[in-house]
């Protein structure tokens, strides 16, 4: 059985790398204990600070193609419960679950005293680590906290420094993506001695507008406010930022990956780019703590198949495979190949190639070899007379050969862009296959430097 246990950022231990992110699923001790019972390895407590007042409503989402919550947006603030209640429950949880990670997410006013005070109290309660919430993009930022700190390297460095003066447990800085270059903030955190990074926090968003009332969502008495976007939609953005942080010597710290992680597959991808743990919120808000079962099971099965015995075995393996564009091989050539036996004849590849790519997929396997344009193809269909097939009236009439709807790729013209394979609804019906052109590897950098190949 592959071992999922992790030791993160110089000492935070958890039975697996799956933590609840600082959010409603980690709001109180009762919830966190149920989450641990379900299998979660750790929890970053809903951010603790002077209790706030929330609005209703608080969430809105983006649905896509009939699926709910492709992206989730919230305008909720930090914990609305007293600091002492949160800390007392942290102590309770740690007593009952000593092997699980409990991290206190903190946000207080920007004074050394306030930070020293909350750090001391959190550690006294038994927190295994501290996560500094410099990322919350709404509400708190208007009061000089959250992303108002995380968008200014100097503030980040200063407050992280204050925390490090006091902290005995590992200190994680949670980064906001709402910034031009996330590395600037990470470098500041690292300069101040942070032990790890949590990335990313939510992305500034307006999810939509009600087209009946013309009011934006979430609706608070006719008005709305920008919120923080998360869920499956943000995963690619988060992966890129995680990679940016890993790829930058001055930023590089242990990373707890956050952003659209809902399955073990998502988690594996974050770990492959270097994350030591991952944090989950939206998937739990959507389906409950039970999603952890397949996250653990699926990850272990995949690790077993791949021969990995621990998280460290594969952590960061894919990071070197992301490089700058000018290091890519310009002489690498692939073309699309349509596997006729799998093709269902939807012709989505055809129209995607004609209208969205390079006009090199054709419907010419039967009949005329002329390269008909999409409008000509449609016009021919509209001009065809079709009748309801009635066996006794249509003796011996056969239908169209299915081959007529199977498109053909002009491999000389195909640029290997992947679009047809991406739109094809059938798995492995269109594969991208390497064409041997006997040309040496050559990058843009090689071309600019005049070197024939590297």
């Amino acid at each position: 059985m592959p071992d999922l246990s992790t030791t993160f950022a110089g000492g935070i231990r958890s039975p697996n790398p799956f933590w609840l992110a600082s959010a409603p699923p980690a709001n109180c001790g009762e919830q966190v204990m149920r989450a641990f019972d379900a299998g979660w390895g750790g929890a970053v407590w809903k951010t603790i600070g002077e209790p706030i007042t929330n609005v209703s409503s608080r969430y809105s989402s983006v649905d896509w193609n009939g699926q709910r919550m492709m992206g989730l947006n919230n305008i909720e603030l930090i914990s609305d419960r007293p600091i002492e209640t949160n800390l007392r429950e942290i102590a309770d949880v740690k007593k009952r679950y000593p092997r699980h990670a409990v991290i206190a997410s903190l946000m207080v006013e920007s004074t050394r005293q306030a930070w020293h005070n909350i750090v001391q109290r959190s550690e006294d309660a038994g927190a295994d680590g501290l996560e500094l919430n410099f990322g919350c993009p709404h509400g708190m930022s208007e009061r000089g906290m959250g992303s108002a700190v995380g968008q200014v390297p100097e503030y980040t460095e200063m407050i992280t420094g204050w925390v490090k003066e006091k902290a005995r447990t590992p200190v994680l800085v949670k980064l906001t993506p709402n910034i031009t270059d996330i590395r600037q903030i990470a470098r500041a955190a690292k300069r101040a001695g942070a032990d790890g990074l949590s990335a990313i926090n939510t992305i500034n968003s307006i999810t939509g507008i009600d087209l009946d009332t013309l009011e934006p969502r979430p609706n608070v008495d006719g008005l709305s406010s920008h919120g923080g976007y998360c869920g499956p939609a943000v995963k690619p953005i988060a992966l890129n930022m995680v990679h940016q942080l890993q790829n930058d010597e001055a930023s590089r710290l242990p990373i707890s990956g956050i952003g659209g992680i809902g399955t073990w597959r998502d988690a594996a991808e974050f770990i492959l780019l270097g994350c030591g743990t991952v944090q989950v919120c939206t998937a739990v808000m959507h389906y409950g703590y039970r999603v952890i079962e397949d996250m653990i099971d699926g990850l272990q099965n995949w690790m077993r198949e791949k021969g990995f015995t621990s998280i460290e075995d594969f952590r960061g393996l894919s990071a070197p495979k992301v490089t700058d564009w000018n290091h890519l091989n310009l002489n690498f050539k692939i073309v699309a190949r349509i596997h006729e036996e799998k093709c269902i004849g939807c012709e989505l590849c055809y129209i995607a190639c004609w209208d969205g790519a390079h006009q090199c997929i054709h419907l010419d396997r039967t009949g005329s070899l002329a390269h008909r344009t999409p409008p000509a193809v449609e016009a021919a269909s509209r001009a065809r007379i079709s009748v309801t097939p009635i066996p006794k009236l249509d003796h011996g009439v056969s239908s169209d050969a299915p081959l007529a709807r199977v498109p053909r790729v002009d491999e000389d013209e195909c640029v290997g862009c992947n679009l047809c394979a991406l739109v094809c609804p059938v798995d492995s019906c269109i594969t991208m296959e390497r064409v041997e052109n006997h040309l040496p590897r050559q990058t843009w950098e090689d071309l600019v430097n005049g070197t024939p190949h590297s």
């Binding site: 009939g66 799998k342 989505l348 419907l363 269909s381 079709s386 009748v387 309801t388 066996p391």
Partner: protein, 416 residues
């Protein structure tokens, strides 16, 4: 609802209770989920398979954006009887049978029910058929018969600005849509509501007029610039066996028209239907729904030879209809005392047997009308069952629309 339906029809609660929708309407969430399943094929095979070439992905994707009005107009653009077609079309052998989903072991998209969803919304919101031209045209066209072919032809011409009259021998328009389609697929009020859309375009309807002979046609030729014949098929073949003139021998179309118009809801207790076409299935199921304890379809050939669609045959079995294969009707026997039918005598491979029954419903094909033979000349156009041998509503609509386009074009050419 839009303008009041000008065609009065008294709904019958008993009929409604006995014939609930075979394919119930989608609720909006179901429709959205189903519409989202559609792959939005390019040059979609469903659209190609549809005789009227409704752009199926186009109307389905409009459902996903909740542009339901646009969805219905996309349907009506191709097929003015989109509402009835959504309910009566044999989608298994048309659009849904062509769905690419079938090629990878997935359920085809429920195109018929999605089309109904869009059309129901259109009708509920009082939608009207759009016109295609603001120009008033001088020519006058008459359509003979108020069935789907004539309605489609009339609508196309009226949308283009022509004055159109529809002549019908029965008291209500719609043809088989009103009088002949199984009630659980399409009810007369729904058929009539759809015809009302065409009346709203300014098409004039005249009922109770029968066109029988050359002098009737000559009068029409004098009055109109073009004549469209959408007269359907003629009466059903007579059953020519002893006893076939008994009053409880009722041909299938007559039987169906009677109950649909609530003129007569009586049915025997043991009913035999002769023939295994789609109309026979409709009649047999109707007999069951109306209360017959036993309904048997007899067919002179084998199970594999039936002309009904496979899904209709399966439906009949589910409704409890029995089948006797290789059985040829020989004679109908009545009890001399009561006068009631007691059995249908059949022969199977040389030996005769008695099928106890008290009602016989023959449906052994229809005779083409001879009127068609006498219509010659450039003013005549035709479409639907009277020329295609008896297909589906959607085929008649396609024919009628093509004729309408051709008629309009013929006048353009005259003026050129």
């Amino acid at each position: 609802m839009g303008a009041a339906v000008p065609f009065a029809f008294q709904d019958n609660a008993e009929i409604a209770r006995r014939f609930p929708d075979l394919h119930p309407a989608f609720d909006p969430q179901e429709a959205l989920t189903e519409a989202n399943r559609c792959l939005n094929c390019f040059d979609a095979p469903c659209a190609a398979a549809c005789p009227t070439h409704i752009d199926v992905p186009r109307f389905i994707k409009k459902i996903t954006t909740q542009n339901l009005m646009g969805s219905a107009l996309a349907i009506l653009d191709a097929n003015v009887l989109g509402a009835s077609c959504s309910r009566v079309c044999p989608v298994d052998v048309l659009c849904e049978g062509a769905c690419v989903m079938l090629r990878y072991n997935k359920q085809p998209i429920a195109i018929g029910r999605l089309q109904r969803h869009a059309m129901d919304n259109f009708l509920e919101r009082g939608g009207r058929l759009p016109t295609k031209s603001n120009r008033k045209r001088d020519q006058r066209i008459v359509c003979i018969g108020a069935g789907p072919a004539s309605l489609a032809c009339a609508a196309e011409l009226a949308q283009q600005g022509f004055a159109v009259t529809v002549i019908e021998r029965r008291p209500l328009p719609g043809g088989l849509n009103t009088y002949g389609v199984a009630e659980y697929k399409l009810r007369p009020p729904d058929s009539l509501r759809e015809v009302a859309l065409i009346a709203e375009l300014g098409v004039e309807f005249r009922f109770g007029i029968s066109i029988e002979n050359e002098s009737d046609l000559a009068a029409l030729e004098l009055e109109y610039d073009a004549i469209f014949l959408g007269i359907g098929l003629g009466a059903m073949h007579q059953l020519r066996i002893p006893g076939a003139d008994h009053p409880d021998v009722v041909d299938a179309l007559e039987f169906i028209a009677r109950y649909k118009t609530a003129a007569n809801l009586t049915v025997g207790n043991k009913v035999v239907v002769i023939g295994a076409g789609n109309t026979d299935i409709d009649a047999a199921i109707a007999a069951r729904r109306l209360g017959a304890a036993h309904v048997t379809i007899i067919y002179r050939r084998a199970e594999s030879d039936i002309s009904a669609f496979g899904f209709e045959y399966e439906h009949a079995k589910l409704e409890g209809v029995g089948f006797e294969w290789l059985a040829q009707p020989v004679a109908i026997h009545a009890d001399p005392a009561s006068g009631r039918i007691v059995s249908l005598e059949c022969s199977r491979m040389g030996s005769n047997f008695q099928l106890p029954c008290d009602m016989v419903i023959p449906a052994i094909g229809q005779t083409p009308l001879s009127l068609l033979e006498r219509c010659r000349g450039p003013k005549y156009y035709s479409g639907g069952d009277c020329v295609n041998g008896g297909r589906e509503v959607v085929d008649a609509v396609a024919d009628g629309k093509r004729a309408g386009v051709a008629i309009a074009k013929s006048f353009e050419q005259c003026h050129a």
